[in-house]
Every structure is written in C-alpha cells, then in structure tokens.
C-alpha cells in the first residue's frame, strides 16, 4: 500500500506543524521519517494513520482519500504504533497482543503466537505488562501492532528503549515484512539505523519536507547539517553506512 501526501497542511490545534508538504511513501518498502525534535515526525505519522485530518491538501492510501475510508477499513489497512506506551490496566502480555486482532474480530491464536514469536516475548506471554521492563513492554506493544497484520505498519520511534539486539531484530523483521509486500513507515532518531535499513528517507525540518529520496542521497552532510544544526560524519564501516553527529553548528 502506498501513501501519497499532496500539498498538506497539518496542525495541532492552532499551531501549524507542517505546511505545503508533498511526500510519497512507496509500497513494499521501509520509509524512515527523520528530523530534529518538534520537526513534525509524529504529526506526519498520525496523519498517515488517519488520526489527524489534514487542514489543507490530500492524503491518499493507494489512490483512495484517507477520509473516505470507514473506521473498520482503516483498522484493517493500517497498524499504528504510537510513541506513547501506556497500558492502562495490568493485562497479561498475550491479552495486550490479542487487542491487535480486534479489527478482525477473530482473536486468531495463530496470529497472536506469530506476533509474540516475532518479538521474542512468547516466554513473557502470561506475565502482566505492569511487571515487565520498559524494553519488554515496548516489544509487547510492537507485537500488538504486528498481530493486526495490516498491509501498512506505521511505527513512531519503535526502537526507543530497545537494546541493540532487539533493535536490530526489529529492523530485520521490518525488512521481512517489506519483502512480503507490506509497507513500513517509521519515525527514527538513530540515523545509522535509517541509513542501513530504510529504502526511502523523509527528512523533516522547519515545518516542511527538507529532502526526500534514497538514504544515500538524503543522509548526507549537505541535507542533515542545516536540518539538525549539527556537523555530521557520514561514512561506511565494513560496508555498513554510519551517520554520527559530531558537534553543534555555531
């Protein structure tokens, strides 16, 4: 599933966060949204998930305007994982993951087990989420989104709080989803992860899309330094792209 954003204005209340934005999210690919704090990454993701209507312009999901889709259609087409990791009742991990099946009304145990296995949390399935560590809880919530088995997965900072092994495993999983034809959109702060795993980069800065394109074109000092206000080292180590912030610009 592809997303096409044309000349969109996105606002939180009276504050315009992004304006005149044109973005294309290609199908069957991992798209990483990067940018400094407050650049509008989460706002863009929420708009793509149909949670925030555009004040101007259009957002279409494979040709259909998002606001023309019913709630049930949206719930089966898009799985959205917010940055907020609230679980308001101490449900068992499996019960949280099972919530991902609500749009399908089936509580399919096979889909729940697949999601638990993919996030390496099957041994924790019967533990209340209130007794899990922050990283374990984050993996339970990713598994909830996976259990939804939607063709489009939108994840806001999914690696925050994950140890390196689980962060790598998560992106390996995203790669597998993409090869299965599913579309993945992630907001990321780790630019090296973005450079290594994303097929497409959207760089947000100063209320607009500062650059979009393949990682090799966008994750360069020319684009990153003015956007982040930091000098950047963009290099390759053992064949892997590395992006490291060096020092704040004067």
């Amino acid at each position: 599933m592809s997303i096409l954003i044309k000349d969109a204005r996105l606002a939180l209340g009276a504050r315009i966060v992004l304006d005149g934005v044109d973005i294309e999210v290609p199908p069957g690919r991992i798209t990483a949204v990067v940018g400094p704090n407050g650049a509008g990454k989460s706002t863009l993701l929420r708009a793509c998930a149909g949670l925030l209507p555009a004040q101007r312009g259009t957002i279409t999901l494979t040709g259909r305007p998002l606001d023309a889709l019913s709630r049930a259609e949206l719930a089966r087409a898009i799985a959205y994982l917010p940055q907020e990791r609230a679980v308001h009742w101490p449900l068992a991990a499996r019960a949280v993951v099972a919530l991902g099946r609500l749009p399908h009304d089936d509580a399919d145990p096979a889909a729940i087990d697949r999601a638990l296995g993919a996030m390496d949390i099957a041994p924790l399935a019967d533990r209340p989420v209130s007794q899990l560590s922050g990283g374990e809880r984050a993996r339970v919530l990713v598994a909830r989104a996976l259990a939804q088995e939607a063709p489009l997965l939108i994840a806001d900072e999914p690696t925050a709080g994950l140890d390196p092994a689980h962060a790598l495993a998560l992106f390996a999983l995203f790669e597998r989803l993409a090869t299965e034809g599913r579309t993945v959109i992630v907001a990321l702060h780790d630019l090296s992860l973005a450079a290594r795993f994303a097929h497409h980069i959207v760089l947000l800065a100063n209320g607009r899309a500062a650059a979009t394109g393949p990682p090799a074109d966008v994750l360069t000092p020319r684009h990153l330094e003015p956007a982040f206000g930091v000098t950047m080292l963009c290099t390759n180590v053992a064949g892997l792209p590395i992006v490291v912030p060096i020092s704040t610009l004067p």
Binding site: L51, Y80, H88
Partner: protein
C-alpha cells in the same frame, strides 16, 4: 491469559446472585413456610418479589455502569456519581416530593428522577463538548454533581412542610423497602435498555486500554463511545436512582474487587460487575432485613458504611503504588 479461576467467575457470580435472590424472596419479618396460604402468597408477590427484582436491577445497573465508567475513564476511582447522573436523578425526585407530585401520583417520584437524570446527562454532554475527552467529562460531571447537591440543599431549606423535608432526607438515603410492582414496571425498561447499551461496549473499552490513538486505530469511535457510556449510565443509573434513591459505592467497589479475577480485562469485567452489583445490593438489603427489620438503617447508609472504609483503603494502596 485465561486461568482456571477466570472461567469460574461468571458462573460463580450468577449462582451467588440466584441464591441471594431466592433468599430475598424467602427471608423477611414474616416467616413464609411452604404452603403458607393466601397471605403468604400476597407477601411474596406484592412485597418481596418487587423488592428482589429491584435489588437485581438496581445492583446490576450500579455495577455495570461503574465498570463501564472505570473502563472509559481508565480510572479505578470512577463511579456513576462522578458524572452527575445520580445527582440529577436525586434532584428530580426531590423536586417531585417537594412539589407534591410524588404524593398525588404513584409514578410521580420515579418519573421526576428519570427526568432529572436525562437533564443531567444533557447538561454533562453539552458541557463536555463534542470532542472532549475523559477529563472534560469528569469536570463537567463534577460541576453538575455539585450543582445538584446545592439545589437539593436549597429545596430542603425552602421546604415549608417538615414532613416533606423528612421524606426527602429519608428518600435520599436509598432503600428498596415499600416498593411495588408499579416501580418495577416503570424502572425495568430504562434500566434494561441502559444495561444493553453498556454491555456492548466491551470491545471498545478493551481497545481503550492502549490509549485513545490506538483505540481509534483499532476501529473505535471515541465520540460514539463517550455518548454510549453516558447515555447507558443515564438510563440505567438514572432509573435505578429514581426508584431506589441514592445507593453509593456499589458502582465503585464491585468493579474494583472483581477486576483482578477477570485478568483486568474491561470487556470481561462488564458482565461480572453486573452480576456482582446485583449480588451486593441483594446481600446488603437482606442483611438489613435481618439486622433491623423495623427499617431503622437505610440501604444507602449501609453501602456507604461498608464503602467508605473500602474507599480509604483504595486511596491508601493507590498512594503506595504511586509512591516513588
């Protein structure tokens, strides 16, 4: 996780409610033996049957709406009184007593209560606004609840007739005694309608466990959910308060006690709380009939006497959990 205990919660509560309902028919100041004759039959059908049916309906209304509100507000301290519905119903009933409507018409009192509950619901929804979340709903509810309390006090002080004032005070304490089948016929349709509305909200309340954005992503309409929670509570608790007066704490305690037994799942808590509420109100009413057959202690007073220490305990444990 569905453990073995969880599978027994609903059947166990159903059996408990059934036993209490039968006991409520059999136990009373006048012992009824088998084949007790015409008088016993009259006591059973005219006094104890309506009392038992009202106990079931009122308890289920309080328990279920408490569970639905706690799920919607994601707050274990929520109860039907917090959104102003019981206050509105009480004010309507008090006005019916004050104006003499209750004295001239059997259904005057409950009718006043129903109108008051509907008025409170409309005010709360209007105050909370079309897109307001749980916080605005609580604020609107607290405002309406304080206003109704003040207006009830005003009616009491303005009351010229001391008997009407005493009647108001007694009625406010909540009771199931001296109710007839007329009360049952009047209260049952709105209570059952409210229970039907609230009982279907399990899926959306489950989704809301992960926050409003994820609930929306899972297909829940937040504005529709809020409307149904408030409307279902107004129908069920409004009608319950209209016939029984204010019976506090049932809607707070019952969901809280049962929540761990159903794995904290909001959808499974709904039917359990309806049964648990019915069982608790029947048990409290039975205890009163045995302990004070003369009717000295009122039902609402007893539930508050049990409820307040429980509430304090709840606050203390919450404080401990939130402590750094």
């Amino acid at each position: 996780m569905k453990t073995d205990t969880e599978a027994y919660v609903i059947p166990g509560l159903a059996a408990l409610t059934l036993v209490l309902a039968l006991a409520s028919l059999v136990i009373g100041p006048t012992g009824i033996g088998l084949g007790g004759g015409e008088q016993a039959w009259l006591i059973l059908t005219e006094i104890r049957l309506p009392r038992t049916l009202l106990g079931l309906l009122v308890g289920a209304a309080l328990g279920l709406s408490g569970a639905a509100l706690q799920g919607y507000l994601r707050n274990p301290l929520a109860e039907p009184g917090i959104i102003g519905i019981s206050g509105g119903a009480a004010l309507g009933a008090v006005l019916a007593i004050h104006t003499g409507l209750a004295a001239s018409l059997v259904i005057g009192l409950p009718l006043g209560g129903l109108i008051g509950a509907a008025g409170a619901m409309a005010t709360v929804l209007w105050l909370a606004g079309e897109r307001g979340g749980p916080i605005t709903l609580i604020l609107a509810g607290v405002a309406v609840a304080s206003l109704t309390t003040a207006l009830i006090a005003l009616v009491l002080t303005l009351s010229q007739n001391p008997f009407a004032a005493v009647e108001i005070v007694y009625w406010l304490m909540g009771s199931l005694s001296d109710r007839s089948m007329t009360h049952v016929w009047l209260a049952a349709p709105p209570i059952l309608a409210g229970l039907a509305v609230l009982a279907r909200l399990g899926r959306d309340l489950d989704a809301l466990t992960l926050g409003e954005e994820v609930a929306t992503n899972l297909g829940t309409s937040l504005s529709r959910l809020r409307l149904l929670v408030v409307a279902g509570t107004a129908l069920a608790v409004g009608a319950a308060t209209a016939v029984s007066g204010t019976i506090g704490f049932v809607g707070l305690i019952v969901p809280h006690i049962l929540r761990p037994l159903v794995g904290h799942m909001p959808s499974r808590l709904l039917p359990a709380s309806a049964l648990g509420g019915a069982a608790l109100v029947l048990a409290a009413d039975l205890a009163l009939r045995i302990a004070s057959p003369g009717g000295g202690i009122r039902l609402g007073v007893l539930t508050a006497l049990i409820g307040t220490p429980f509430f304090v305990w709840l606050v203390v444990t919450t404080r401990r959990e939130l402590a750094p």
